[in-house]
Symmetry: C2
Subunit: 82 residues, 2 copies
Protein backbone atom coordinates (compact mmCIF):
# COMPACT_ATOMS: atom_id res chain seq x y z
CA UNK A 1 0.00 0.00 0.00
CA UNK A 2 1.23 3.48 -0.90
CA UNK A 3 0.53 6.47 1.33
CA UNK A 4 1.46 10.11 0.96
CA UNK A 5 2.13 12.68 3.67
CA UNK A 6 2.15 16.29 2.46
CA UNK A 7 4.00 18.58 4.85
CA UNK A 8 3.48 22.36 4.54
CA UNK A 9 4.65 25.35 6.49
CA UNK A 10 1.84 26.76 8.61
CA UNK A 11 0.19 29.67 6.82
CA UNK A 12 1.41 32.20 9.39
CA UNK A 13 5.04 31.08 8.93
CA UNK A 14 7.15 33.06 6.43
CA UNK A 15 8.54 31.05 3.50
CA UNK A 16 11.83 32.64 2.39
CA UNK A 17 12.46 29.78 -0.06
CA UNK A 18 9.07 30.34 -1.66
CA UNK A 19 9.74 34.09 -1.86
CA UNK A 20 13.09 33.46 -3.53
CA UNK A 21 11.43 31.22 -6.11
CA UNK A 22 8.71 33.83 -6.72
CA UNK A 23 11.31 36.55 -7.38
CA UNK A 24 13.37 34.25 -9.60
CA UNK A 25 10.30 33.33 -11.66
CA UNK A 26 9.67 37.04 -12.16
CA UNK A 27 13.25 37.56 -13.26
CA UNK A 28 12.85 34.71 -15.76
CA UNK A 29 9.90 36.61 -17.22
CA UNK A 30 7.00 34.62 -15.78
CA UNK A 31 4.32 37.20 -15.04
CA UNK A 32 1.40 37.03 -12.64
CA UNK A 33 3.05 34.89 -9.96
CA UNK A 34 1.55 36.34 -6.76
CA UNK A 35 2.77 33.82 -4.20
CA UNK A 36 4.84 30.62 -3.93
CA UNK A 37 4.89 28.20 -0.98
CA UNK A 38 7.19 25.20 -0.89
CA UNK A 39 6.43 22.01 1.03
CA UNK A 40 7.51 18.38 1.26
CA UNK A 41 5.84 15.27 -0.06
CA UNK A 42 6.74 11.98 1.65
CA UNK A 43 5.65 8.89 -0.26
CA UNK A 44 5.66 5.78 1.91
CA UNK A 45 5.25 2.17 0.86
CA UNK A 46 3.83 -0.01 3.64
CA UNK A 47 3.78 -3.82 3.42
CA UNK A 48 0.44 -5.69 3.21
CA UNK A 49 0.60 -7.02 6.75
CA UNK A 50 0.62 -3.45 8.16
CA UNK A 51 -1.89 -1.85 5.83
CA UNK A 52 -5.03 -3.98 6.20
CA UNK A 53 -7.05 -1.50 8.29
CA UNK A 54 -7.17 1.99 6.66
CA UNK A 55 -8.18 3.66 9.93
CA UNK A 56 -5.29 2.12 11.82
CA UNK A 57 -2.88 2.96 8.99
CA UNK A 58 -4.01 6.58 8.90
CA UNK A 59 -3.46 6.86 12.66
CA UNK A 60 0.04 5.32 12.37
CA UNK A 61 0.93 7.74 9.53
CA UNK A 62 -0.28 10.65 11.67
CA UNK A 63 1.92 9.37 14.50
CA UNK A 64 4.90 9.12 12.11
CA UNK A 65 4.20 12.71 11.05
CA UNK A 66 3.88 13.98 14.62
CA UNK A 67 7.03 12.20 15.73
CA UNK A 68 9.25 12.69 12.74
CA UNK A 69 8.02 13.75 9.30
CA UNK A 70 6.71 17.20 10.30
CA UNK A 71 7.91 19.83 12.75
CA UNK A 72 4.72 20.52 14.75
CA UNK A 73 5.90 24.02 15.70
CA UNK A 74 6.01 25.39 12.14
CA UNK A 75 4.46 22.73 9.91
CA UNK A 76 1.07 21.14 9.24
CA UNK A 77 0.64 17.78 7.48
CA UNK A 78 -2.00 15.95 5.50
CA UNK A 79 -2.18 12.14 5.22
CA UNK A 80 -3.51 10.49 2.04
CA UNK A 81 -3.84 6.73 1.48
CA UNK A 82 -3.30 5.22 -1.93
CA UNK B 1 -5.88 30.63 -9.27
CA UNK B 2 -3.85 28.12 -7.30
CA UNK B 3 -1.63 25.57 -9.02
CA UNK B 4 0.56 22.84 -7.61
CA UNK B 5 3.76 21.39 -9.05
CA UNK B 6 4.87 18.12 -7.47
CA UNK B 7 8.57 17.44 -8.05
CA UNK B 8 9.89 13.90 -7.47
CA UNK B 9 13.21 12.21 -7.94
CA UNK B 10 13.15 9.97 -11.00
CA UNK B 11 12.47 6.37 -9.98
CA UNK B 12 15.95 5.21 -11.02
CA UNK B 13 17.62 7.87 -8.82
CA UNK B 14 18.64 6.81 -5.28
CA UNK B 15 16.99 8.74 -2.45
CA UNK B 16 19.38 8.81 0.54
CA UNK B 17 17.07 11.16 2.42
CA UNK B 18 14.16 8.77 1.96
CA UNK B 19 16.33 5.85 3.10
CA UNK B 20 17.38 7.76 6.20
CA UNK B 21 13.73 8.46 7.04
CA UNK B 22 12.83 4.79 6.46
CA UNK B 23 15.55 3.62 8.85
CA UNK B 24 14.62 6.24 11.45
CA UNK B 25 10.94 5.21 11.30
CA UNK B 26 12.06 1.63 11.94
CA UNK B 27 14.14 2.76 14.90
CA UNK B 28 11.09 4.60 16.29
CA UNK B 29 9.21 1.30 16.17
CA UNK B 30 7.08 1.82 13.07
CA UNK B 31 6.93 -1.59 11.39
CA UNK B 32 6.19 -2.47 7.78
CA UNK B 33 7.74 0.61 6.16
CA UNK B 34 9.20 -0.86 2.94
CA UNK B 35 10.20 2.31 1.11
CA UNK B 36 10.18 6.09 1.54
CA UNK B 37 10.66 8.68 -1.25
CA UNK B 38 10.80 12.40 -0.53
CA UNK B 39 9.78 15.07 -3.03
CA UNK B 40 8.88 18.75 -3.20
CA UNK B 41 5.49 20.39 -3.54
CA UNK B 42 5.43 23.91 -4.98
CA UNK B 43 2.13 25.73 -4.50
CA UNK B 44 1.84 28.75 -6.78
CA UNK B 45 -0.79 31.48 -6.73
CA UNK B 46 -1.28 33.10 -10.14
CA UNK B 47 -3.31 36.31 -10.62
CA UNK B 48 -6.58 36.23 -12.58
CA UNK B 49 -5.16 38.01 -15.63
CA UNK B 50 -2.63 35.21 -16.18
CA UNK B 51 -4.83 32.23 -15.39
CA UNK B 52 -7.81 32.55 -17.74
CA UNK B 53 -6.83 29.78 -20.18
CA UNK B 54 -6.10 26.48 -18.34
CA UNK B 55 -4.15 25.06 -21.30
CA UNK B 56 -1.92 28.11 -21.53
CA UNK B 57 -1.44 28.12 -17.76
CA UNK B 58 -0.48 24.44 -17.70
CA UNK B 59 2.09 25.09 -20.44
CA UNK B 60 3.54 28.05 -18.52
CA UNK B 61 3.77 25.98 -15.32
CA UNK B 62 5.54 23.24 -17.26
CA UNK B 63 7.97 25.86 -18.58
CA UNK B 64 8.55 27.15 -15.02
CA UNK B 65 9.25 23.56 -13.96
CA UNK B 66 11.61 22.88 -16.85
CA UNK B 67 13.50 26.12 -16.32
CA UNK B 68 13.58 26.31 -12.57
CA UNK B 69 11.38 24.24 -10.25
CA UNK B 70 12.73 20.82 -11.24
CA UNK B 71 16.17 19.53 -12.16
CA UNK B 72 15.45 17.71 -15.44
CA UNK B 73 18.47 15.44 -15.02
CA UNK B 74 17.26 13.75 -11.82
CA UNK B 75 13.69 14.92 -11.28
CA UNK B 76 10.25 14.51 -12.84
CA UNK B 77 7.35 16.90 -12.18
CA UNK B 78 3.58 16.87 -12.30
CA UNK B 79 1.44 20.00 -12.79
CA UNK B 80 -2.03 20.24 -11.18
CA UNK B 81 -4.38 23.22 -11.51
CA UNK B 82 -6.65 24.26 -8.65
Amino acid sequence: MKATVVVRLKSEVLDPQGDAVRRALGTLGFEGVKNVRIGKIVEIEIDEAHSKDPKDLTERLAKMSDEMLANPVIEDYEVKLG
